[in-house]
Amino acid sequence: MTSLPESTDRKLGLVIDLDTCVGCHACVVSCKGWNTENYGAPLSDQEPYGADPTGTFLNRVHSYEVQPDQGAAQLIHFPKSCLHCDDAPCVTVCPTGASYKRVEDGIVLVNETDCIGCGLCAWACPYGAREMDAAEGVMKKCTLCVDRIYNENLPEEDRVPACVRTCPAGARHFGDLGDPNSDVSKLVEERGGMDLMPEQGTKPVNKYLPPRPKDRMDRPAPAQAEGDIDVLAPFLKPVAEEPKGFIGWLDKALEKL
């Protein structure tokens, strides 16, 4: 079994805004493209033009319907990749030391040359964030684009994970969640960012920003108790009920212009 570092210098990770994610899969495919061409073995595809196409993806978007007690159902898009946990069970379960967590930034990686493809880490991960590559027989996972974020061959502004760079809605944020003054930490603070499945005790570094309240216009009857604050505008007050009255109002209103 493999040890985790006692602590890491930084906690690099993602903050994913579920209020803004439209479920477009841009992050999924950008990740597939970068990581097929870069870190380690390509992300392979089996039967890519066949009856049951499957392939390795390091990031996938799931969609869930939520049915509140009252009001309309909602659809939540939920992108999921490795959360680079502080207490990563995928690392401690690894029999060869291939899985490890980096001291300098907390990124969890797989050293493919040491990986025997036993799959224990995928079994240990409660998030289903690791995928065995069927062609290469090694475990693949999100690297947080470790080969982009420090890459001196890229312009500085591009030294972010591919999924963050490409997200059209700006729903993905990258930074040091170990630094309380970082932009991502402030965002988590402001928006009530959450851990995914905290009860698992994995201490994930990635955070999710919850959707804001929705459908406030489906309000019950407009009558309100004195002093109640309604964030919505009151119903419009008529100036006229029929065209003649309207034209009378119009004349007066034009005089005031």
Binding site: V22, E65, Q74, T166
Partner: protein, 942 residues
């Protein structure tokens, strides 16, 4: 094992070179950085400098590498050897292919150019392909707008000189409330996603109006799950509420719209309903300062919204009176429309109140002086921070034109168009409707057409009719059946050609249009029409030429295939003459260029047209000595001049003193300069010209300088569309050019010059008690029509398209997961897999479009789920309405523009035994390209 951390290279080489071009994975035209390794495409990302996408890129764009290398790519010109529809071809040389095409087309041009119908699908080179068709001399040309969103485009242009998407955009930086109607998830996809992200970052709100709560509607703060086809009624109810409460922008309406323009109210007059004009043809208003009529644009005039005028025994009322009289009617009250729209009356009231609150109580002011077209200088730019966007969802109905008009009227009444925080035009818009061409259809053997095919009619005199009154065009565009069909009716071409109605053609020539599958209504019927033979055994549509890059379903139905390149292997221009990539703050255009050379015997379609045009001796395509004028499309892009100084690309032209933009002579190094500048050109609009563009002198002068107009073109918005009234007058018996009697009533009813709502036509043609359910399609964000599901990566995301059912129907029919349903319309029946979705209008079912595939097409396995479980709703939709017993063929289209009414569809469903495959099933077609590989480990750099 203790912590062990290997050394890794965190700074590997990314690529040998980055080549910047324009994406074509959908119609957005984002800028892309193509990373090259060893001369091959290694990785594609968004171009940060590009005005459209500013670095981001969607799933389609990033999957371009799989499209570029798709096994379905055609490899060489093909000549049909089996029967049509079999997919049996032999490869031929380009010389043979072009000789065949020339031999077929030259005699047509010599005797009757209208025997060629040339329609170009999802073409992004329409200014070029239309120029080719015009030089050929056929009136039968259009692209796919007629089955896409012409209602939106035409309603916008007729109402306010521009529409959504490529015509304009919300003021993302200032808007506080963004309301979207029926937005397909692909159109303008990255800019809208970026905009919604920006809005949410600022805490502004989004209201989504759509029967289906997916995509943008899923993240909207408020969802209005409207009943399909009732958006117009909902909008007019909002208008009712705003008028009744006086929450409209009177100053804006008086200054910038035809609300104060006087209308002839004399029912006995041949000018009844027309606008009062002076001798110069200027529309007249009452000047509040003098109380007398004055031209709308006179210096210092203060147009009066209220005063009436009586002259020569005739009363003239301002348009504003007609608006008040119509929309204050209780038929538009929230209670009166709530049940039909599926929206509670209080919710309609709440939305109206919220629109008014944000527009008027949260007014914003930019400290920016500007001068209007009447010469008045304004110290500030006042803004109403409510913005709207809409697309095909409200457009693809038989009441779509009037619904889109209603939406534009709503934004104008709120004073939110071309103001800070509202909706803003993108150059070359705003552009008054009268500055657009009118349609031309005069055919002369051996000669070009008399002008551009498509345009904007002003009245019956502009219709494309022959001398005997019959339609001049095969698609019957610009006829009494659909007078304002600005984009043509691609969906009627095959049906009409097969029926010989209005006449027979010889050759059908198409580009990028999958007509025998997902791009047609009545798919099986279209296959039959394409393969039908007459008594002599000859095909009813004698010849079909088709160009496509891929082995689509349509390939099998052509006699001659001209294989196109992929988007990374070609030249293109995204031109200001066509559908450019401008922003509200800038004019911009772009190119594609071959970042890799084709490894197959294929050629860019536009380059092929340059050679074919020369072989046919078309005037625009040959030099005086008869030699080929443009060696290829790149040569055309560089050297063609539409008029002196104006060419396909605006950037880096040759001026008197070096390089210039906009107007200038061709520059041999222009394409190279575009490449060096990242594949695009951009010129920013000065701050004083950034808003109020239709009325802003600084903008008008800037636009003239850049070559967008030849002279300033200020205009006012047409809340009242007078050309529509001219068609009504004809239907009432006025004028020389008269509609056929069977269309008089429909023209009177539907071509109302003020927005109206009427039920979708299908509702009148079918038993709505039997067919109670509305059925829709949407495109997934990660796919673009039929291209997506051949893509190895994208088909793993959206490989299945069940029919989604709302809870009420799911429970009523006792469905459970894995079940199948038989879905019937008045026209056809399909049996398909179903799935439950709660966030859905309770009377609506839907599926993703264009995922279903025909076996044998697109290099997919015959057992691919797209072919076995995938399906098209198209089988349930006919291009004609059910017969009315009058022997006439009534198109399933909008009666104003001819837009295909896809979304009028009504169905019924029942639980079905699970078949082995989706029904109907079709025999496999043989593939000219074989099948794709059974595994991929795609790494270019080793």
């Amino acid at each position: 094992m203790t912590h062990h951390q290997p050394r890794i290279d965190t700074s590997p080489k990314v690529s040998d070179e980055v080549r910047k071009t324009t994406c074509y994975m959908c119609a957005c035209r984002c800028g892309i950085n193509v990373h090259m390794k060893d001369g091959k495409v290694a990785y594609i990302e968004g171009n940060r400098d590009h005005p459209v996408n500013r670095g981001v890129l969607c799933a389609k764009g990033s999957a371009g590498i799989m499209q570029h290398n798709a096994p379905s790519r055609l490899r060489a010109p093909l000549k049909r050897v089996g029967p049509r529809g079999s997919g049996e071809f032999e490869e031929i040389t380009w010389d043979e292919a072009l000789s065949i095409a020339t031999d077929w087309l030259a005699p047509l041009r010599e005797k009757d150019p209208s025997k060629l119908a040339f329609f170009t699908g999802r073409d992004q080179s329409q200014s070029f392909t239309s120029y080719w068709a015009q030089n050929f001399g056929t009136p039968n040309y259009a692209a796919h707008g007629g089955f896409c969103s012409v209602n939106m485009a035409a309603a916008g242009i007729y109402t306010m000189g521009g529409a959504f998407w490529e015509f304009g955009q919300p003021d993302w930086e200032h808007t506080k409330l963004f309301m979207i109607f029926g937005v397909a998830e692909d159109h303008d996809s990255n800019p809208i996603k970026m905009g919604i992200g920006r809005i949410k970052e600022r805490g502004a709100k989004v209201i989504g109006v759509n029967p289906i709560r997916s995509g943008y509607n899923a993240v909207a703060d408020e969802w209005v799950g409207i009943t399909p086809g009732t958006d117009g009624l909902f909008i007019l109810s909002l208008v009712h509420e705003l008028l009744k409460s006086g929450r409209i922008d009177l100053d804006y309406l008086a200054r910038y719209t035809n609300a104060p323009v006087l209308v002839n109210m004399d029912e006995t007059s041949p000018d009844h309903g027309l606008l009062l004009r002076d001798e110069a043809g200027k529309t007249l208003v009452i000047d509040r300062k003098t109380g007398k009529p004055a031209p709308f644009d006179q210096k210092g005039v203060r147009p009066d919204l209220s005063a009436t005028y009586r002259h020569g025994g005739t009363t003239y009322k301002p348009v504003m009176h007609l608006i008040a009289e119509r929309y204050l009617d209780p038929q538009y009250a929230p209670e009166a429309v709530a049940a039909r729209c599926g929206i509670p009356a209080d919710k309609i009231r709440t939305i109206a109140a919220e629109l008014a609150r944000v527009a008027f109580d949260e007014e914003i002011v930019l400290e920016q002086e500007w001068t209007d077209f009447r010469g008045e200088t304004h110290k500030v730019m006042k803004g109403r921070p409510v913005s709207f966007h809409a697309m095909r969802g409200i457009s693809a109905h038989s009441n779509g034109f009037q619904t889109c008009r209603a939406l534009h009227m709503l934004q104008i009444l709120l004073g939110t168009v071309e103001v800070p925080g509202g909706f803003r035009f993108k150059p070359p818009y705003p552009k008054p409707v009268t500055a657009h061409p009118k349609p031309h259809a005069k055919v002369t053997p051996d000669s070009p057409l008399d002008g551009p095919h498509l345009g904007f009619v002003q009245g019956p005199e502009d219709l494309a009719l022959k001398e005997d009154g019959s339609p001049a065009r095969i698609d019957k565009a610009f006829t009494w059946e659909n007078p304002m069909s600005a984009h043509g009716l691609m969906h009627m071409v095959i049906s009409n050609a097969h029926a010989g109605d209005p006449y027979r053609i010889d050759t059908l020539f198409m580009y990028m249009a999958n007509m025998s599958w997902n791009s047609s209504m009545n798919t099986r019927g279209v296959m039959d029409m394409l393969t039908d033979k007459d008594e002599s055994g000859a095909y009813v549509i004698p010849r079909i030429i088709y160009s496509d890059a891929y082995s689509s379903e349509m390939v099998a139905y052509a006699d001659l295939i001209l294989p196109d390149t992929t988007y990374l292997e070609r030249h293109d221009c995204i031109s200001l003459l066509d559908r450019p990539i401008c922003e509200a703050d800038a004019a911009a255009d772009a190119i594609r260029w071959p970042v890799v050379e084709p490894d197959r015997d294929v050629r860019g379609f536009q380059s092929v047209l340059c050679e074919l045009g020369a072989r046919l001796n078309l005037p625009g395509f040959v030099n005086e000595d008869g030699s080929q004028k443009y060696a290829d499309y790149a040569d055309y892009i560089t050297n063609h001049q539409r008029k002196p100084g104006i060419g396909p690309l605006a950037g880096w032209r040759t001026g008197d003193e070096g390089l210039t933009h906009g107007r200038g002579a061709p520059n041999a190094a222009q394409l190279q300069t575009y490449i060096e500048n990242g594949g695009f050109f951009i010129k920013h609009i000065p701050d004083a010209a950034a808003y109020y563009k239709p009325w802003n002198r600084q903008y008008q002068d800037w636009a003239v300088d850049l070559g967008i107009y030849d002279s300033p073109q200020p205009y006012i918005f047409d809340l009242y569309v007078e050309p529509m009234r001219r068609f009504q007058l004809a239907a009432e018996g006025h004028g020389d050019r008269q509609p056929p009697d069977h269309l008089r009533e429909r023209i009177r009813e539907t071509l109302d010059p003020l927005p109206i709502w009427y039920p979708p036509f299908e509702d009148a043609g079918v038993d709505t008690d039997e067919f109670t359910i509305h059925a829709l399609t949407q495109r997934p964000m990660a796919m673009y029509h039929s291209w997506g599901s051949q893509n190895a990566w994208l088909r793993q995301i959206h490989g299945h398209n069940p029919l989604y059912l709302p809870t009420k129907l799911w429970e009523a029919h006792g469905f459970s997961e894995g079940d199948w349903a038989r879905v019937s319309s008045a026209h056809g029946q399909i049996t398909v897999p179903v799935a439950h979705m709660a966030a859905l209008n309770e009377n609506t079912v839907w599926t993703w479009n264009a995922i279903g595939k025909r076996k044998g097409a697109w290099a997919l396995d015959k057992d691919a789920p797209e072919a076995t479980k995938g399906f098209l709703l198209n089988h349930l939709i006919h291009e004609l309405l059910p017969p009315k017993g009058d022997g006439l063929r009534w198109a399933n289209s909008d009666p104003i523009t001819g837009q295909a009414a896809w979304f009028d569809l009504r169905v019924k469903i029942e639980k079905a035994e699970a078949p082995t495959e989706s029904q109907p099933r079709f025999d496999p077609i043989s593939s000219p390209v074989g099948r794709g590989p059974d595994h991929l480990e795609w790494k270019v750099g080793k």
